[in-house]
Amino acid sequence: MSDNAESPTETQKDDPSIQHAATEQTGASDEKKKIDVLLKAVGDAPIMKTKKWSVERGRTVQSLAQFISRFLKLEASEQLFIYVNQSFAPSPDQEVGVLFECFGSDGKLVLHYCKSQAWG
């Protein structure tokens, strides 16, 4: 992932393991390597303009959280929390592919996210 990413497109270019998922695709052709993730904001978390992403199975939750934080331009002091199955926080080291196997339905993994307040 590039630290200089200013926009989703740039992030995408530098980060082939997380890409926009085509809206019509069910992800069948990539099912071996990538899974479809649907990101839903909770609370007063900013809503991502692009909610559906194709993510490599081996990507960790921590890495995905960092991607989302950068995408949303969160401050360093803001923590992102990710939930699977609505109310369970997967370990940051957990692979999204495993989460998809456990909690995926209709060809996608729904993840909810929220953020903490910044300091001060």
């Binding site: 360093a76 609505q86 109310s87 369970f88 370990s91 903490s116």
Partner: protein, 250 residues
């Protein structure tokens, strides 16, 4: 969505209370649709723990309930042996990291049975013993995570060493926070020195999950959700099966 910020009001006095940390969105909104409260009464805490422990038993996850004799208070406890990079431990202690990691014939005779299984990792990593306790805090009305950490030969870790072992996903933000997230505390029930993860920010990660569950008309087990967030901060793994196999108390 109506967002209100209120000071907590209790009918009884609450000790050590950080007004700036806490907002209570549950109790003040009478007449409107009540957002889910982040607070937990002790009875519900115990019920959630019981359900949690049943699953732990099923998957042999190592948790147990410790009841304080003569009271109706208790807590959940789990001990873990954890291999870590030697850099977690400070090198300025009397013995060197290398000595600690080498398993020689002399030392093997003194190694307890429980560490026999980790001798292979001893040579590459240091092995730490973490003991986690899940307690109920009457003053905060939420669960709190206490823990103590030591090397295999019983040397307690310093606060700095404990910080070195906080998961990188959280470490920077927690360390830079305006209050002490990790503090040394006397264990409220055992009276021994433990570390405590300050419960101050519990609401900010519990509230979204509680609201979500309420919106979907799903009941969740508070302890499962709470521990799934705080556990990994301190390298405590909570297997995914807790998410689906543990029910909420009635």
């Amino acid at each position: 969505m109506h967002l209100g910020i209120f000071k907590i009001t209790y009918n009884r006095t609450a000790t050590h209370f950080m007004d700036d940390c806490f907002v209570n969105l549950g109790e003040e909104m009478a007449g409107e649709r009540n957002p889910a409260s982040c607070y937990l009464d002790e009875r519900t805490f115990q019920l959630c723990c019981q359900l949690f422990l049943q699953h732990s038993e099923t998957i042999q996850d190592g948790w147990s309930w410790e009841q304080i004799k003569g009271t109706d208070e208790g807590f959940m406890k789990k001990t873990v042996l954890m291999p870590v990079k030697p850099s977690v431990l400070h090198k300025q202690h009397e013995y060197s990291i290398q000595d600690e990691n080498m398993v020689t014939d002399d030392i093997q005779a003194n190694v307890e049975d429980e560490t026999a299984g980790v001798q292979a990792v001893c040579e590459i990593h240091a092995v730490l013993r973490y003991e986690y306790h899940v307690l109920y805090s009457c003053s905060y009305q939420i669960p709190v995570l206490y823990f103590r950490a030591s090397t295999l030969d019983g040397r307690p870790l310093s606060l700095e060493e404990v910080w070195s072992n906080v998961h990188p996903n959280y470490r920077q933000r927690l360390q830079q926070g305006p209050w002490d997230t990790l503090t040394q505390q006397e264990h409220p029930l055992l009276g021994q020195p433990f570390f405590m993860l300050h419960p101050c920010r519990t609401e900010e990660f519990m509230k979204p999950a509680l609201d979500l569950a309420q919106a979907e008309n799903k009941r969740m087990n508070y302890i499962v959700t709470w521990l799934s967030v705080v556990g990994p901060v301190l390298r405590l793994d909570v297997p995914l099966s807790y998410s689906t196999e543990v029910s909420a108390p009635d």
